[in-house]
Structures are given as structure tokens and as C-alpha cells.
Symmetry: C2
Subunit: 419 residues, 2 copies
């Protein structure tokens, strides 16, 4: 379960109320008309879980593997990676998920060196089916592990892609296993589609509970029971020119990959040219507390007042590790913590930091996960996706495209054509 | 070796030239008067290397360990961690460095579970000697591993701290091994002091070459041969209100921890109230390309024009991994890369992204490491430290303090006193 609180120093006026009502209507429309598909994933993807479970039970390649190597980048990897990092400590028995994202030769070789073909399932994920990094790394895997795609290794490769994409045709040609992504689900909103659900289910995670947490959040939202989401979106949309940066301070090491997912979701969805031709969008930044308290906090406290800060907390870490009740001569200053748990310490640091920022008049809000478990992860994902759609609607932009990344791709191709 | 290039769309006018001359003079003064100590570390820390090497040769605990567990947070861990991540692929024989930073119970227990006391050297690092996270984790280690600090485990614990600090007194009391940090070297500028050099040397890294790369950069700078540093600092200092965010896009996975070091160095040094009472400071953000091209780039390209972007490249990854010259039916679109190396691909992506941003008029600059080796790392560290001092001088702030982080510490202590 997740709960919220905020101290934004901001109140909705009539304009903001109108903006919220209009944005809410937009999302209802997008959902009802099927313009945007991710709203229904928490309800629809149960079928994928069942199918993947049945497949896992019937496939020797899945049963015998100890590692699932996910070849994908951006929206094709960040979501499953975030979920894997959060849930791993609760699910030590889950198969290892290894993400091959970056076309960095050192990175790829290091990861390849940890793989044994007989113990590996490769999942290639590309929505367009043509992502150059993904296809290149896949080819390198085919060569390195001598994958026989028409013979004995046919079960060792699965693809996830748009129906009708080049990768989809490739898969059909070899008769390999594939899962598709609904056309109306964008890459960065796809974690609860096959893109995240298939690797996570095959690894052995309880993906049904993730979906169930997400579906409850989506239902409550469309039942108009999550007003705080509208308020937060309205605050961001109407004050991003003042508070240009939203910092997420996540107080748990395992949330680091989640902050990366959030950065992509916000950055790529909200950094746009709006319908009046203005360049808009807050900048998302992810940090891990208390580590980054010893780093970025000074800038937030005393630097320019251009940041709002969101704290993500885990109430119960499900580990009772204590600060031992021992006294070490000369370093007794922190003995006030003796006998307390690290769980208490990290959360007290979160609260203390939040209070010190609020005391300076810096807009803060908090999201508390009762536990870092499957349901809370599902809720948290749905929370951020809905928040992004709402903010995009209020900014009058197309939340779901990414025209700005095309130029670089064209320049890249030209560099090699010339060469 | 590292080289630079920039396309900032900015030229120094008379005011900027004056600002540069004044800031350069400031740094010369700080160095000559010993106000700021890090300038001399590349020259002075050779003695620490020699001492640490001699100690390593004579100590059974060091010789027999396979892991060095560094207990420290912020400036006490980020530097060594960054260097370890960059150099690890070149130095597979170096002992494992494990950083215990975050008082997250799951994180601590996971790391403790990988340690065997007989094979571990613990290095406790705290400049003030009172950091609550560090002292608490150290106590937890004492309990978990039953460290006998007056008996058989005396060689297994080393401390690095300010002379005369509480931790220093604790060490003296037990007669343990300690290294001190010069008083005029701040935590975030301490990577080339004992703080970084001791763990890296004991792990087996060639720290002399790191120092030598850094000393060359410092010498060239004070010989007025690194004007680009002055120009970049002047650009940042004079236009941060327009370009409020500096994004480092590092094109190598192993540079991720370096971007965190950079974020601390900038954030904590430059986010300040200036001598006129204004809140100033650019916001540092670290990203890894090409992964984050599939994420944050859209925002940079089409969002608000409030960002400058610095690209860090590695020219030679020293890995010849190729994109195999194989044709997979239907996914031939990226076959133009066949036969090229991943090294070429990742750098071409860097160049293409840089060109596409420059084409939009976004200020960009680049830092190219010929190789991700010891000398280049030393140069890169010195480059960023000097850039930070220059920018701070031009912003008319105290670059070396961090008054904004004290409030949270006081609130934290109160929470436990009350309870």
C-alpha cells in the first residue's frame, strides 16, 4: 500500500480547478476511446501472466535457465529493471535478470562472460523492432553463444515487439516465441505490458500482485478517489517555470533503478513543444537518500529556489538490523541511536530532511510504501504513469510521442553510410 | 590523456575576461597561502602511496584479504568508488572494494553477507569522525563480525579521519592504523588524499599514475595553459540563470559512479548563498549514454532551453568487440553497422547526439579520454575540481563549506532524543 502527503505551499485556485477537471476528462477520454492503452494493462495483463506461467512450465529452456538476459534499452528495460531491483530482496529465489542495454563493449563483454548458454534465456525487446543498440547486441549474442535459431536454441530466444514489426517478421520466419505490445502503449508506459510482465513472470516474480496493486490505483483514480494526484499534477504544470526541477529523493538503495524509470517517464513524456509552440517541461532528477543527503542536499537547501522535492519512503524494510548497543570510547556522539534499528534511522533521516526543506519553504511531498512489496510497486508505477498523463494534459502537450530523438538517429546512420 | 572541445555559443566579453583573471588569481592565492589544500595532493600524496604499499607488504591482514570494505558516505566514498568503477575493467586482479554507505538495512545485510572476516579489511572513513551513518554501520560490523579491536582483529581495521577528530582518538586508544586528512582538504575534494588513495592503493591500483595525471593537469592549469577551463567556468558562472542545469552525458557504463562524484562536487560546492545574499548555483545532473539517450534526450532537445550538456567520451575502450557481419532476415535495417566495433558505435552515438544538440543551439562541450586509464582518471578529477573552484570564485561564494546540511542533522538528533 502507498500513502501520500504534501506540503507544496500551493493551493488550487479556480483556474487550477478547471485545469484539473479538464485533464481528468482527457484521461477518461483517452481510456474510453482506446487512444492510450496503458490504463487497461493492469486489468488485461493477467492473461499474459497465465500464458507465461504455462509456457514456463512447458519449456525446458525456461525451466532449466538460471538467468534471463534481457536485451533492450530505454522503455524496453528500465521498467522490469526497476521492479527487479525493488523486489529482489524479497524474492531471493527468482531467476537472475541481466539487462544488456548499453552498446558499451566493456559492459557487454563483462555481462556475456557471466552467461552460460545452456543456463540462459534471451529475451529481445524492441517496440519498433529496429532499435540499433538492441539488434546489434542481439547479433553479438548470436555469434558469441553460437545460437542456432532454427535448431536446438529455438526455445532459448523470445522476442517482445509490436505486431507487424521487422523483429516480429524475423521471429515468425524462425518460428520463435514472441509476445506483442499493444500499439497504443508507448515504450516508457509499457512495464505492465508483456515488456515487463513476461521477463518478470518467467523469472518467478509474483506479477499478479503487481498488477493487482496497479489496478487498484487505476480504479481509485478513475473513481475520482485520488485527488492528490490531480493536485500534484496541477502544481507541477502550473509552477514548473518557477520550480523547474523535481527531485525524487528515494530512501532505499533498491529504489535507485526506479528513479531512472521515473526520469525517463517524465523526461521523455513532458519535455515537449506545447500546442502554442512553447518549449515546456520540468526536469526530473533522481537521488538516493541518505547517500545523496551528503551530496545534493546543500544545493537544494541554499541554492536557487527552483526545485520541488518528492520523498519516497519504505515504512517497513522487513529487516530488523539494529545499531548495536555498544559504546566505543571517543565516538559516543551518535550513541543516541544505540538499540534503534537502521530502519528507524533511515526513515528518521528522511523525515528530518523533509522537515528541514519544508522549513525553508521548499515544496515537498512524500510517497510512503508500507513495504517494498509487489502491490506497492504496482501502485507506485500506476501513480507515476497517471501523474505523467495528467501533467502532460495540463501542459497541453502530446505526452506520448518523442519527436526530439529522431535527429540523432538520422545523423548516426549517416556517419556509417559515409564511412 | 584528456582533450576538450566546446560549442557553447558564448564568447568572453571584457567583463568575463576580468572575471576569469580574478578567479585565476583567487586560486593561485588559495594554493599559495594553503587556504585550500587539494591543489597540492597530486604532488604530496605520493608519500601516502609509498607508505600504504609498504604497509600492504608488511601486514598479513592486507595481504590475505580479498575484499576491502570501505565504510563511509558522501565525500568519504564517492571518489574512490568512481575511480574503482572506471579502472576495474583494466585491473581485474585488484582486490574487491565494497562500499558500505547507505544505512539501509537491506543494503547493509546484503553486503555483510558477502564478507568473510578473515578475508576482509575494513576501512572506516569520516573526516569529522562523527558521521552518524558511518559510525552506526561500523558498530554493526563490529558486532556482526565480532571484531576484537584490542586483539586479533587490530590489523583488520584502518581509519581515515581528521587529525584530532573523535575517530582519531578512538583509533589511538586501540592503537589501530590510521591515516589523516589535511585540515584544508574538504571531503568532496579529498579523493586524491588518503581518503581515496589508501583504499585504492591497498586494493592494488596504480595510484601513482592517477596522481601523475592529476599533477600534470594542475601544473598546466597554474601555468595558464588550460584556458578552456576558465572559459567553461565563466560560461557556467555567467549564464547559470539561463542554463540552470548542466547535464553530463557520459558515454561508458563504467563512468556512472564518476557522474555521481561530479554531482556531489558541484552540488555541494556551488549551491550557495553568495556574498550579496543571493541563492546561486547550477544544478548538476549525470546521465549515461546511449542508455539515457533513450530517456532524457527528448527533454533536452525539445523541452525548455535551460540546460547545457557536457559529453564525456572514451576514445579507445581497449575491447575490439564487433557487431558481427551477419544478416538476420527482416531486421537488416541496422546492417550498416555490421563489421564495425561497439567502440565505434557508442562513440558515433555520442557524436551524433552532440551534433543534434548543437544543431538546436544548445550549449555543448566534450571531454575525451584517450583511454579510461589511470592518468586520464587523474586528469579528469583535477579538471573537475579546478573547474569547480573557478566557478565558485566567479559566483563569489564559499566553494568549500556546506552550511545547508546542518539543519537536517540537528532535527535528526532531536527525533531520537525525544523518543
Amino acid at each position: 500500500m502507498i500513502t501520500y502527503d504534501h506540503n507544496l505551499g500551493w493551493r488550487a485556485d479556480d483556474d487550477a480547478n478547471e485545469l484539473m477537471a479538464e485533464a481528468f476528462g482527457n484521461l477518461v477520454y483517452e481510456r474510453e476511446k482506446g487512444v492510450v492503452g496503458y490504463y487497461n494493462l493492469p486489468f488485461d495483463s493477467g492473461l499474459i501472466v497465465s500464458e507465461a506461467e504455462a509456457y514456463a512450465a512447458s519449456s525446458d529452456a525456461v525451466r532449466n535457465c538460471d538467468t534471463i538476459a534481457v536485451i533492450g534499452i530505454g522503455g524496453s528495460s528500465l521498467g522490469a529493471k526497476a521492479v527487479d531491483s525493488i523486489l529482489r530482496p524479497r524474492s531471493p529465489e527468482a531467476k537472475r535478470l541481466l539487462f544488456l542495454e548499453n552498446p558499451d563493449p566493456v559492459d557487454i563483454e563483462e555481462k556475456f562472460d557471466t552467461l552460460q548458454k545452456e543456463k540462459t534465456l534471451f529475451i529481445v525487446i524492441s517496440k519498433s523492432g529496429t532499435t540499433v543498440e538492441t539488434i546489434s547486441i542481439f547479433k553479438a549474442a548470436v555469434e558469441r553463444f553460437g545460437l542456432d535459431l532454427d535448431g536446438e536454441d529455438r526455445e532459448r530466444v523470445i522476442a517482445i515487439t509490436d505486431e507487424g514489426s521487422p523483429l516480429c517478421h524475423f521471429i515468425d520466419r524462425h518460428g520463435l516465441k514472441a509476445y506483442t505490445i499493444p500499439h497504443n502503449v508507448g515504450g516508457r508506459f509499457s512495464v505492465l505490458s508483456s515488456v515487463g510482465i513476461v521477463p518478470l513472470t518467467l523469472a518467478g516474480y509474483d506479477t499478479r500482485s503487481i498488477l493487482s496493486g496497479a489496478s487498484e490505483m487505476v480504479e481509485r483514480f478513475f473513481d475520482a478517489q485520488e485527488e492528490h494526484l490531480l493536485i500534484k499534477a496541477a502544481f507541477i504544470a502550473s509552477s514548473w517555470r518557477e520550480y523547474r526541477i523535481n527531485v525524487v529523493f528515494a530512501y532505499a538503495s533498491r529504489l535507485e533503478d526506479f528513479t531512472k524509470w521515473y526520469v525517463q517517464l517524465w523526461g521523455e513524456s513532458l519535455g515537449k513543444i506545447d500546442r502554442c509552440g512553447n518549449r515546456v517541461g520540468p526536469t526530473p532528477v533522481g537521488h538516493i537518500g541518505p547517500v545523496d543527503q551528503h551530496s545534493f542536499l546543500q544545493l537544494v537547501m541554499q541554492g536557487p529556489r527552483d526545485k520541488s522535492v518528492t520523498f519516497i519512503k519504505v515504512e517497513d524494510f522487513e529487516k530488523s538490523l539494529k545499531i548495536p548497543d555498544i559504546r566505543l570510547e571517543h565516538i559516543e556522539k551518535s550513541d543516541y541511536l544505540n538499540g534503534h534499528t537502521f530502519n528507524e534511522l533511515i526513515n528518521a533521516e528522511c523525515d528530518a530532511t523533509m522537515e528541514s526543506l519544508a522549513g525553508e519553504g521548499i515544496p515537498v511531498d512524500s510517497i510512503t510504501m508500507s513495504r517494498a512489496d509487489e502491490r506497492s510497486v504496482g501502485e507506485l508505477i500506476a501513480y507515476y504513469e497517471l501523474l505523467t498523463s495528467l501533467t502532460g494534459a495540463m501542459l497541453h502537450i502530446n505526452t506520448y510521442d518523442q519527436p526530439g530523438v529522431e535527429t540523432g538517429k538520422r545523423i548516426l546512420a549517416k556517419k556509417f553510410e559515409k564511412g
